[in-house]
């Protein structure tokens, strides 16, 4: 008759007792392993002693993690693998193998005093998150100016770019509002009836109350004197605009201050035929907020890569069937993965051999096993970060920050495939600024660039995070709207078109307005990338010929 199951508390207590008993014996076990190795090296080499050593290490490898000594178990496992290869040759170990065993034994000795629960706080290596993570989703702007007409006009213009502007008549009202709900930014004049620097004084007082929660502040003023600027800077102002305010410049600054790109977790693909080690690395990286995927069969690598889309590959060098170096070469042969960082892991401690490995296998870094958790985290984090930044720069247009032509096309392929898999729809829109050549000719290329930037900014403000925006050519833009039907896409793009037409573009001499025409094609009405683009292009052409400043939906 089976005994009645114990309560969770009893199980926990018994488990802790077992762990304590195990911990007490670790030192002795490691000492026996060391002594066994010493006998092998100093006395005549014999297989019986080696087998005994191997069995002791095997036992440690098989039990360490069960009792919470994950790191110790991993080192023992690595050592076991090495001893297995020595056993299989039947010969005394070569000098390199002796060095490796010696290094692993030193790590084993060291790991006795580092049970899992006492590992250093790993998150200390990752920059802290923004103190106000919700700020990035807010487009709320508080505006206070003693000139009601100016304030109203400014609110309207900024509103076209997706900001929700709330106006206040005086600094007292503003202060009350801020204490109730934090805006994304504060726009305030300096001079009020209360005094020439009343606006600055109000902001200083507010900052004392709110501390680090203080929203960014942008000052506006007729005053151009240095005193005013100094006082504004001392009050913590992020920007200072003299009136009349340039709306494009102001919106640029607001975008900069309110933009929060919630950092998407770095994605690390771990390739190691030893699933224990792979899981170990996976756990370490996950604890720092990374997303990991483990591949233990090298032949699964390519399909997993295209599905998982990693920022970095962490790869063992020595694997049966094919080595990490060979895999690295295969990865580098594919254009899509030329730039992805590959970090090799191996017990190899010879620097020349490490350099050879990086050269042959296209690796970017070489980490010697067993690796300390913090070393692994730092190596992976810095390379993943740099890789993502580089990928972003290569994928975007320098003037607007939007995706460039190539990346937009790639994204359209991806999204079309996804729509196909999930049986959903997708809208593809092409936009072209109207009479753009005459804008450049009349107002100059600098103004033309600002018009382009204003449209890209508006698109970014008004479209969803899941949408893709690309600059397709000089004054041509492309937008991919996943999970969107034709009617909805038309509504969205028409709204943007109307808002864009309301923006007062500014040149040195005068203000003017600009418009764009738009053609939209929808999947699955057009069932492949080529026909989608052709249809959208034709729809755009029809929009131009029907008088411009309109949105046309392509029909089959």
């Amino acid at each position: 008759m089976p005994s009645s199951p114990a309560t969770p508390t009893q199980i926990q207590q018994q488990m802790q007792a077992l762990r304590a008993a195990y911990a007490e014996k670790i030192g002795e076990r490691v000492l026996q392993i060391e002594q066994s190795w010493d006998r092998l090296v100093k006395d005549d080499w014999n297989l019986e002693t080696l087998r005994t050593l191997h069995r002791m290490v095997h036992s440690l490898a098989g039990s360490g993690a069960t009792f919470g000594f994950t790191y110790l178990g991993t080192i023992a496992r690595t050592l076991e693998i090495l001893l297995t290869s020595i056993l299989e040759t039947g010969n005394p170990p070569i000098a390199l193998q002796r060095i490796q065993v010696h290094a692993l034994l030193a790590s084993l000795r060291q790991s006795i005093h580092e049970p899992e629960q006492n590992l250093p706080e790993l998150t200390a290596f990752i920059p802290s998150q923004s103190p106000l993570p919700n700020r990035g989703d807010s487009h709320l702007i508080y505006l206070v100016d003693d000139d009601p007409e100016l304030a109203e006009d400014l609110a309207l213009q900024i509103g076209y770019f997706g900001y929700d502007v709330v106006r206040y008549h005086n600094s007292t009202d503003l202060k009350e509002a801020v204490l109730q709900q934090l805006p994304a930014a504060i726009l305030t004049d300096i001079t009020f009836s209360e005094g020439d620097s009343a606006g600055i004084e109000m902001i200083s007082a507010l900052r004392k109350q709110l501390g680090s929660n203080m929203p960014p502040v942008v000052f506006m003023s007729l005053r151009e004197d240095l005193t005013a600027r100094l006082e504004a800077a001392r009050a913590g102002g992020k920007a200072y605009f003299t009136k009349p305010v340039s709306v494009p410049s102001l919106v640029d600054k607001l975008d900069e201050l309110t933009r929060a790109h919630p950092q998407e977790a770095y994605r690390v693909l771990i390739v190691d035929d030893e699933s224990h080690l792979a899981v170990y690395y996976s756990l370490i990286l996950q604890r720092t907020g990374m997303v990991t995927q483990v591949v233990t069969d090298p032949f699964d690598l390519i399909p997993v890569m295209s599905e998982f889309n990693p920022d970095l590959i962490l790869m063992d060098v020595y694997m049966p069937h094919c080595s990490g170096l060979e895999l690295g070469t295969v990865i580098r042969q594919q254009p899509a993965y030329v730039g992805i960082p590959i970090v090799f892991l191996s017990t190899e401690t010879d620097l020349n051999k490490q350099l050879d490995a990086m050269n042959l296998g296209g690796g970017d870094e070489f980490l010697t096993k067993p690796i300390q958790p913090d070393h692994l985290i730092m190596a992976v984090y810095s390379r993943a970060q740099r890789a993502r930044t580089l990928r972003s720069l290569m994928a975007t247009d320098s003037l607007t920050g939007l995706l460039n032509h190539t990346t937009t096309k790639e994204q359209l392929v991806q999204e079309t495939l996804r729509a196909e898999r999930s049986q959903s729809s997708l809208a593809f829109a092409m936009l072209d600024l109207d009479h753009f050549k005459s804008v450049n000719d009349t107002y100059g290329h600098a103004t033309g660039d600002r018009v382009i930037k204003s449209l890209s900014r508006l698109l970014q403000q008004r479209l969803r995070r899941t949408d893709t925006i690309g600059r397709y050519g000089g004054e041509e833009f492309a937008v991919i709207l996943p999970d969107t039907d034709g009617a909805t896409a038309c509504k969205i793009m028409n709204d943007i078109r109307q808002r864009f037409a309301q923006i007062r573009q500014q040149s040195e001499d005068e203000e003017f307005s600009a418009t764009f025409s738009c053609g939209i094609a929808v999947y699955p009405t057009f069932s492949d990338v080529g026909s989608l683009k052709t249809a959208a292009d034709k729809a755009l052409y029809r929009a131009k010929h029907q008088g411009r400043n309109r949105v046309v939906l392509a029909e089959k």
Binding site: M1, P2, S3, S4, P5, A6, Q10, I11, Q14, M15, L18, A21, Y22, K25, R55, H58, S59, A61, G62, S63, G64, A65, T66, F67, G73, R77, E80, D273, E274, S275, H276, T296, D297
Partner: protein, 129 residues
Amino acid sequence: MTASLERILLVEDDPDIQAVARLALEAVGGFTVGICSSGKEALEQAVGFAPDLILLDVMMPVMDGPTTLKALRELSPLRDTPVIFMTAKVQTHEVESYKQLGAVDVISKPFDPMNLSSTIHTIWATYHA
């Protein structure tokens, strides 16, 4: 062939693994557990214990797991008792080779004590499906 899983025999030479496995199977899983420290002991005690399932460590001195399994199959009452190997290194092709030796499945070491019983139940259910 009994369809219920109550009695499990563990053949394992490491005393620490024996202790934690007993806790995992008895306290967590509610099984009746017998433990042998070697293949030789298993041959002497297994018939008397009459296990529903045998957990067999692969790497043991003198008689390793596969050798012990072969010998156990020579004992009539245990000819059809399902055996699960426990070993530190488990790859897909190795699982297949262990199954060809007659094991129904492989559990890798180190194992999570809190999940060992449910893993065994899963293997048992699959075996009887």
